[in-house]
Structure formats: C-alpha cells, structure tokens
C-alpha cells in the first residue's frame, strides 16, 4: 500500500489504448491512473494487469500523441469510484462523469465503487409490484413489475425510442405511490437520437439523471457510463428510497465496445468475436436491478438492444435474454402495417408477470384474459401459414374467424397509437375484442 501518488515515466510500449509501464511499485488491479501526454493533455486510465513490476494500463480516450519517454503516468492509489449526492438529480453528465450541462460539479456526499457489489440473493425482495406503462401489449400480456429487468429487442429502423419514451412519459406505480425517477444512459447514440430522448426527459415532471456518451466519444466510456448510471440508481434507490427506472440504450453499442476493447487486449474471441466473458459482464449490469428486503426503493431496468440483422439468436440479444426476466420483441411486420407499438406478442415474455398480476395487484381476471388473448392470437397466427397455402376461401368458417381475430387484435389491442390506456381499459379492451368474435373466455 502506498500513501501518496506516484509518478512514472517508464512506458515501454504503447498499442492502441494499452500502455505497458515498467518498474512500478505495488500497483493495484483496477487502480485509477492519469496519463499526462507531452503536450499536457490528461487522460483517464486504469490498471488492467500486473506482472511483477510491469503494469498494463488501459487508457480511456484518444491515445494519439502519447510517446515513450516524456509521457508520465500518475498512480492514485484508489479504484474507480462514483461521486454521489442527492444533488445529482436533474443533471447531465458525459461518459467520464463530467458535467455536460454547463453547470459546476456537485459536492459529493459519498463515493461508491463503480462495479457495485453483488446483491445477496437472500436479501432480495421478490419483484411483484405492478408498473403501468400505458401500453396494452405490455401491461396486459407482458406485465412489467418493480425491480424487473425487461429489455426491448428492436431492429434497426423500428421505433424503439418512441416505445421507451412512451413508457417514460406514462409509467406509473399501481398504488398511486409517487412516480419514478429516471436514470438514463445513452451509449454511442447519434445526436439525433439522444436529443430526442433529452427532449422527452426535460418535458417530464419527474427527476432524471442522464449519462450521455455520443457516437463520436471514446469507446471505453461506453463501458463506464452504464456503471455510473447503475451506481447512481442503486444509491438513489437503496439509500434515498426512490423508485428508479434505468433506461440504457443501446446495449448493442455497449457490446461492440466490449468486443473492441477485448480485441485490443488480445483476448481469445468467442462467438462472433465477442469475448467469452460477455455473459458475466452483461450480468454484472443487468443483475443490479432489484429490490431489497426491508428497504423502500427499487431499481427497474429497461435496456434497449438492437438485434443485428434482426437475428434474435445473435450473441447480444441471446445472452441478454438469458439474463433478463423476459423481453419485449419489436416486429418489422407490424411496423410496416403502421401499428404502434409494433410488439410481437409471441416471442415477447415477462417472467415476473405471474406474481405481479391478479387480485389486489391489477384485476382478478387479468390472468384469464391474457391467457385467452394469447391463445387465440397464437392460433390465428398459426392459421396464417395455412391461409398462405390453401387460400382464405378454402378454409372453414371458424378458422376464418380466428384469422380475423388475429388481425383485429393486432390493429386494436396491440396498436394504440399515442393513446395511453389504464390497466382497466386494457383488460376491458381484451374482453370486448373476444366478445366481438364470440370467443369463449375460459
């Protein structure tokens, strides 16, 4: 252990974002270091590996202009921490936690480790409190509950940001118990995208904290921003008792950044070049959602994943789906039919729904209605394949009815344009649709 900062000018090699430094005394793994270039530019960096007195350092930001001999490296004797204070609410930061709203930095009340610590499974409270998003297809069929992590699986060109901002505007807790505070992390977004989100956030009455890493900012910060966001969320939730909704978009950019850094470290690539530890790495983010027994407050997560090539088996959506508690899958087909939100009901799922619905939570008949709607719609979808082969005229009357139901369900239940529906309206809509086609509600 060292008691003060140490400065070294013993760089032996530089490759992309990686520096090798020699003759370092007792470096810590994960220690924060500052790299000062010959022209006085200061870069943030972290100790990645230690081999005797040789240390491998990873630099966040542009390493152009660094040299061997004159560049100095300052060791700070501390691992990366996040400054926290209630004053953080309402602020916008960049991916290295510097204010991006032109205001001065707040005075921290405490510092917490960026990686957080794993929540003891024995301390977790079961997520079961219903969140009303105002979208029938989510509330009725894929119910979101407090403390859940439910990603949106989108494809390029689909309105994921409209869906997420709709949830942001409308999300309400069931018992009228206040509203959410939003922690927003934008990873590698274009100006067009994040300014859209910022407009939505600023229009909202509830508080928010934003971490913006735009498309042209350092890739390394894409790995930090979600961790800043989640550490902030945990602080607000479990120390300040707030209900926090964390929106992270776009996780695909995060994973690509992870792959880029992993390749630079010359690690063994796994599927499609993504590192073998991507599952654990993603889990270290997603698993920070939850509730704690005996504490108010909660962290609910709504990450957005853009499926490359619309492929749900691609490693990014695949590993995400294995960790998260369900998924909301957007469909190009429904989008083409001008249905909003274009959520494909069949592959979408909320694993925590069973506990969040029913008497005293939503309505007693919720489970029955959602099971029936799902069943009839699935049958209608099945029959569409048959229709494509034998033609509509060749089908029996009852099959034609199911086909019509499926169409109507997509247009009227899933599709709702901008209008917000309460859970009661959603369920009544479901009942009236089934009645309209005289389908039995079993």
């Amino acid at each position: 252990m060292r008691l003060s900062e140490h400065v070294y000018r013993t760089i032996s090699s530089i490759a992309g974002p990686l520096l090798f430094l020699q003759k370092v005394f007792n470096a810590q793994i994960g220690e924060v270091v500052r790299v000062i270039s010959p022209d006085g530019r200061m870069l943030d960096a972290e100790v990645l590996e230690i081999e005797g007195d040789t240390v491998l350092i990873e630099v966040f930001g542009e390493t152009r202009g660094l040299d061997i001999g004159r560049t100095s490296v300052v060791f700070t004797d501390s691992v990366r921490k996040v400054p926290l204070s209630p004053d953080i609410v309402g602020r916008i930061f960049n991916g290295s936690f510097s204010p991006a709203d032109g205001m001065p930095m707040f005075i921290p009340e405490k510092w917490s480790a960026i990686t957080g610590a794993a929540m003891n499974p024995a301390a977790r409270a079961r997520p079961e409190e219903f969140i009303e998003t105002g979208f029938s297809v989510i509330d009725g069929l894929n119910t979101l509950v407090k403390g859940q992590k439910l990603p949106v699986f989108s494809s390029s060109g689909l309105p994921s940001k409209e869906l997420v901002s709709g949830v942001l505007r409308n999300a309400r807790l069931s018992a009228g118990r206040g509203s959410f505070i939003v922690v927003f992390a934008a990873l590698g977004l274009t100006f067009h995208e994040y300014s859209y989100y910022m407009r939505v956030l600023e229009e909202m009455k509830t508080g928010f904290v934003a971490f913006i890493n735009s498309a042209d900012e350092p890739v390394m910060e894409r790995l930090l921003a979600p961790r800043f966001a989640l550490t902030t969320a945990e602080y607000l939730a479990f120390e300040k008792g707030m209900d926090v909704l964390v929106i992270i978009t776009d996780m695909t950019n995060y994973c690509d950044a992870l792959r880029e850094i992993s390749t630079a470290r010359e690690e063994l690539p796994g599927r499609r070049g993504y590192p073998g530890y991507m599952y654990s790495d993603l889990a270290s983010l997603y698993e920070r959602a939850g509730r704690v027994k005996g504490l108010p407050g909660s962290v609910t997560m709504l990450p957005v994943v853009t499926m490359p090539e619309d492929d749900i088996t691609h490693p990014i959506p695949d590993l995400t789906g294995y960790i998260t508690e369900g998924q909301i899958v957007l469909s190009r087909e429904l989008h083409r039919l001008n249905i909003f939100p274009p959520v494909d009901v069949l592959p979408s799922l909320s694993r925590l729904m069973q506990k969040g619905i029913g008497k005293d939570r939503t309505r007693e008949d919720h489970r029955k209605i959602s099971n029936n709607l799902y069943k009839y719609y699935a049958r209608g979808r099945d029959l569409r394949r048959l229709e494509a082969i034998v033609g509509r005229d060749g089908m029996p009357q009852k099959d034609i009815k199911m086909l019509d139901f499926a169409d109507c369900f997509e247009q009227e239940f899933v599709g709702q344009r901008g209008a917000r529906r309460t859970i009661a309206e959603t369920l009544d809509k479901g009942i009236s649709l089934m009645r309209q086609f005289s389908l039995e509600i079993q």
Partner: protein, 550 residues
Amino acid sequence: MMRTGTGPITGKILSISGPTVSTDLKGLRLYERVYVGYAMLTGEVVRLDHDRAVIQVYEETRGLASGEPVKGAGHPLSVRLGPGLLSGMFDGLQRPLRRLREEMGPFITGGREIYGLDYQKKWQFSPISKEQDVTSPGDNLGSVKEGAFSHYIIAGPDDRGRIAKIRQGDFSLDEALGEYDDGRMIVGCHEWPVRSPRPYRKKLPPSGPLVTGQRSIDFLFPIAKGGTAIFPGGFGTGKTILEQSIAKFADVDLVVYVGCGERGNEMAEMIEEFEDLRDPWTGRQLMERTILVVNTSNMPVAAREASIYTAVTMAEYYRDMGYHVLFLADSLSRWAEALREISSSLEEMPGEEGYPTYLASRLSGFLERAGVVETLGGRTGSLTMILSVSPPGGDFTEPVTQACLRTTGTFLMLDTALAHRRHYPAINWFQSYSLYATELAGYFREIVSPEWETQQQRCREVLQKEETLREVSEIVGAEGLQDSDRLLMLIADKIRTEFLSQNAYGEDAFSPPEKTFASISGIFAYYDRMLGKIAQGLSLDEALTQEGGA
C-alpha cells in the same frame, strides 16, 4: 493434512490478471486453498511452476495490489459437513447467505470467512456406536434430529480408531461427543474437499423411477433414481420453471438446488415459494428438505465454477446417510462458461468454441458422482442429477450439450416453438429420449398399471402419425382428410393440450403417476369410443355431436 514443504508461511503477490493471481509462496499444493491479500480473499492453487504458484481467486480482485501477502490454508477447498445444512442457503463457497446478510447488509463484499455450519446451535445426540467399538471413516457414530430427518453423524476421513468414550445429550458442533482411545475428540462435523467424490462401498445400478410429477417426463421420458438427466433449451423455454417444479414435487428425501450463474430475482422468488409450499409426499414445508446453493450471474465467476462441487459434496454427504437425494443445477452452461473464463485467464490452449479441451472429461467426472450406492455404513442411498443447459442461440450442436449427451441417461429437449405456443413444459416429444425407459417400465407396470407400456406406445404412435398428417393437411386442408385421420389429429391435440402440457402454477402442477395414467387412459377410452362410432358408419361430426350430447 500437514505441510511437508519448508517454504515460508506467507508469500507475496507477483502478478494479477483478472481473477488470476500468482505468488512466490513455496510449498503450496495443487488445489490447496489460499488466502490472498490483506482482504484475505479466498483462492485455490491451480498451477505450480518451480518459482511461482498460480491462484484462482474466488472473489472480486479489484483493489488488490502486487506485493500483498498470500497465505496457504494447508488443505484443499473444502466444505463443512454436519447437521444444520438443511433449509440452508449458501454461496458457491458454502458461506451462509442469510448470516452474511445479517453481518454485512444486502450487498456481498469480499474477504469474509463465515462457516457454513452454526457452531453455537445445540443438537440432541443419540449414539449408535458403543464404547470399545472400532470405527472407520463412513461409519455411523450416532444421530441427531435435523428437522424431520435423522441426521447420522458419520465418521470423517480421519476418524479411525477405538472409541473410548461416547456421550449422549445436547452438544454443539465444537463440543466433543466422545473420544478415541488415543485421546482424539469425536465431533459432529467434518470437512471434505469438494473436488473429491465421497467414497462408498459399491455402486449399484440405477433402480426405480424418480417420479417428477411432470406427465411428459414420467410417462414418456422417465428418470431413474441415481440417474442423470439434462434439459437444454434456449431462453424463454421454461428451464428454470421446470427445474423448480421438479424440485418441488420429486419423490426424493432431499433436494440440493444450485442456482449457478442465473438470476437473483428468480432465487428470491423460489425461496419465498419454498417457504410457503408443502412437499406433496410428506406434507412438510418444502424448504425443510432443501439445500440451496446460489451463485447468481453477477457473483464472482470462479466461485460459480466451484459452486456445483460444493453442492454435490453436500448432496453426497446426505446420500451417505442412506437418503435419496436429488441434485438440480440451473444451469450447467454457466458452469462451463466459468470454466472457459478461468481457462482463458490461465492462457490454456482453447478447444471448441473457446472451451478448454478438458470440458468433456470434467463434465463426465462430475456426472459420475450420481448413482445408487451402498454406503460405507451399509445403507443404500442415491444421488440423481437433473441439469439444465442453456445452449447459445438455442443451438444444440454446441460443446456443452454435446458433452452432456455422451454421459447422461435422459435427454429432454426444450423446444422454442412449443414455448412460443405456451406449451409448457416445452419438452419436444420427438427429439427427447430416456435410456431408462425400458428398465423403468417394469416398475410402472407394477406400481401403476400393467397397461403402462402399451398406452405409452400408443401415445407415441398417435403423436408420430399426427406429424405426418399435419404435413398432408397443410396441403389439402384439414377438411380434406379422412374422418379417422381427423379424429387422430383431434386426439393428438387433446394429448398435447390436456396431457403433455401442464400448468406450473395451478392445481395441475403436480401429477402423480396414477393421475398421469388415468389421464392418458381417459383420452384413449374416448378415442376408442369415437373409433367405434365411426366404425358403425357415423361421420366424425355426427360422432362428436353424439359424444358431446351424451
């Protein structure tokens, strides 16, 4: 175990890379447990070179500095075995999660050693061995009551000798229950290295079914007590729900459940449920017969690798008392991935998809710890393993699924298409198989009905024919089929929706074999009636109306 080397007791950290640390400490043995750094993080020696030892650290290494001390524990990574494990909840290193929560709050920070057993609690001991008896490891010295179970105090690996004194009454685990004639104490617990299978007198062939209460498993793809089963499935195919349903309803004495690299919320849900629910066989609280080992996906990766060994050692310990123990792991893929991460941080040569080449041999070594055994104490106990596998992209050709297929007896393939139709459990009836089916048929014939196999065969045939007919009907339309074929499709639909699918939340979640058999027989009785009517010259629609009216 005594240290034989003459090296220093404390060494220094030389290098750190992720969870891998090397030290100059001499005299360590392979797989010895070590304490790393000022924080005393737990680690295990995984490689020895002439001038350094490589250590796998089981906790977060962030903040660890080179030059910090390393200490050897003198024994391999072990678990403590004794009364008090049941209804416990541990992490991958057997630290009790409930007590961890009391001591450090809702988040787990590293470097805290808390034993898996409670050394304060008193147990009422009644001896079985007598004074002057000569005991050897594995003998039953006596028993205590652990909940509803008789917990036999088994002589540990070093407990060999003539008993000079043995007492009766209330003892805590650090008090002597008696002593040997050479003065050594007899205590109620011992340590066992997790990576060594516990010994037994001999292995017996799997015998008798393990009733799961899931119709599609018990009827079509039964699992034997002492057997092994895997069910691979993509995400959303209901692996966890199926594992948990089996954990709730299986007709075994005890269940050891490992949440290996899975979701924390799911575990919270499971714990609450297990505290509420009752064991359908005995009526007792489910938690009383359960041990949970939980290493969620965000807990350290290396401990995830160790977690299945920790759990299986505890399972073997209860097997050695003559209990039928069920070991469930969700999911084995996460364990294999942990192995891959560790292997890659050791810079080993990768095999298929980056997994180390020893993946298959490690797996088969692990799976061989299942079985029916005659214990050292002369009882018969069994350890059955049911493991879920999460193949990436739902692709079953990947290495973990393939390696499992070579060594497991029952293969239950979970089908994404079925899950999308909300057919749960989404077990594909064409691809799945059980190598125990013929052996177990005899038991079902005896305990349920002599018709068991014939009905089973009939069920398979109907499902097989339906598949062929479905292709035809997609071309000619359902109306174009003959009445007998349409009837068959109707019956197959009934089998699928009323028999094979089972709601994990309702009354139907548990189906004992008698009910399973009655249900399929009912469907076939209906089939026969309808066939009779068609044979009499009625059309299918007429027959259906008649049946509906009757």
